[in-house]
């Protein structure tokens, strides 16, 4: 994110702290998609992700005045809130699944694939989705924050409240597993 965008987002947050609803709408327009994609892929449930993202922006609305620009960029702060709420939701979902109240998550694919998303590409993407879903929760979150949210290692570390070294380890393991899954997929298709 450029300095100009960061300054604009910080200004939005100041306006939200003064209870400006239009600023909240603009913040959702800027960051809502990225947060939703990470939450959806992490939780494996669009409905749960939708609720989590609403909760994220409700928290932003209530606590915008507590944001400290010295500690993190706005984008990182938003992902930090999202990570915390996703972890809470994931625990509750796991418990509900354990006691039989919920079904396991279904694979979520883009229902409207682009023209470039050909059959073989779709097969590869299905493999990647399954591999992401099979990753341990922390590896999955680190990978999504890095690849989808495009946060650098330090920001991923801040969002997950772990050290940059731990993030590197999680990313190495996650990518290794994904590489193995896609290689296996290529071997099967050839």
């Amino acid at each position: 994110m450029s300095d100009r965008t960061q300054a604009h987002t910080a200004a939005l947050l100041s306006a939200i702290a003064r209870k400006d609803r239009r600023a909240l709408g603009e913040l959702i327009a800027v960051h809502g998609r990225g947060l939703t994609l990470v939450a959806t892929r992490y939780l494996g449930s669009p409905e749960d992700a939708d609720e989590v993202i609403q909760d994220v922006f409700l928290r932003v609305w209530r606590h915008a005045s507590k944001y400290d620009p010295q500690k993190a960029r706005v984008k990182t702060w938003l992902y930090r809130i999202t990570v915390n709420l996703c972890i809470d939701r994931h625990r509750r979902m796991s418990l509900r699944r354990f006691i039989g109240l919920d079904d396991p998550p279904v694979e979520i694919a883009d229902p409207q694939p682009s023209a470039a998303d050909r059959l073989e590409d779709r097969h590869t993407l299905d493999t990647v989705r399954a591999a992401i879903a099979a990753l341990p929760a922390r590896q999955r979150m680190a990978l999504l924050l890095s690849a989808v949210a495009e946060l650098d290692t330090n920001d991923v570390a801040t969002a997950m409240a772990i050290s940059p070294g731990a993030v590197e380890q999680l990313l190495v393991r996650a990518r290794r597993k994904l590489r193995a899954a896609t290689t296996q997929n290529e071997d099967q298709t050839t």
Binding site: R21, L24, G25, I28, A29, G32, R33, T36, L37, V38, T40, R41, P46, D50, I53, Q54, F57, L58, W61, R62, I108, A109, D110, P111, Q112, D117, D121, T124, L125, V128, R129, I132, L143, L144, S146, A147, V148, L171, R175, L178, R179, T182
Partner: protein
């Protein structure tokens, strides 16, 4: 980090991004958040259930109060102890109930 590893990491990231792409509706999210803000309990004074008794509960309480007051107002309808009733059956009569062993009877030396 070697150049080749960077390339493969970039490839993996691109795959993850592509696999994570789903349609999103930020406008819908905004309106859902707004509706929850308007329904936010922080915006309205909290009304505890105990402070808002139902009409049925209030009527029942008034009835019990009236019945209790009326009961104590009648001379011979004072509440009786179940033990007294058992003693009355055993020794007979209300005097026996009040003094089953005749301890306070006239002429008693005890």
């Amino acid at each position: 980090m070697s150049r080749q590893k960077e390339d493969t990491d970039t490839d993996i990231n691109a795959l993850v991004r592509a696999a994570s792409a789903v349609p999103t509706d930020e406008t819908a999210t905004f309106y859902k958040v707004l509706s929850r803000l308007d329904a936010d309990p922080h915006r309205t004074p909290v009304q505890l259930p105990s402070l808002a008794p139902s009409v049925a509960l209030a009527s029942f309480a008034a009835l019990m109060l009236a019945a209790g007051t009326a009961g104590y107002a009648l001379p011979d309808l004072a509440p009786t102890n179940p033990d007294d009733q058992i003693l009355a059956l055993a020794f007979g009569g209300s005097d026996a109930v009040r003094d089953p062993f005749g301890l306070t009877a006239p002429g008693s030396t005890k």
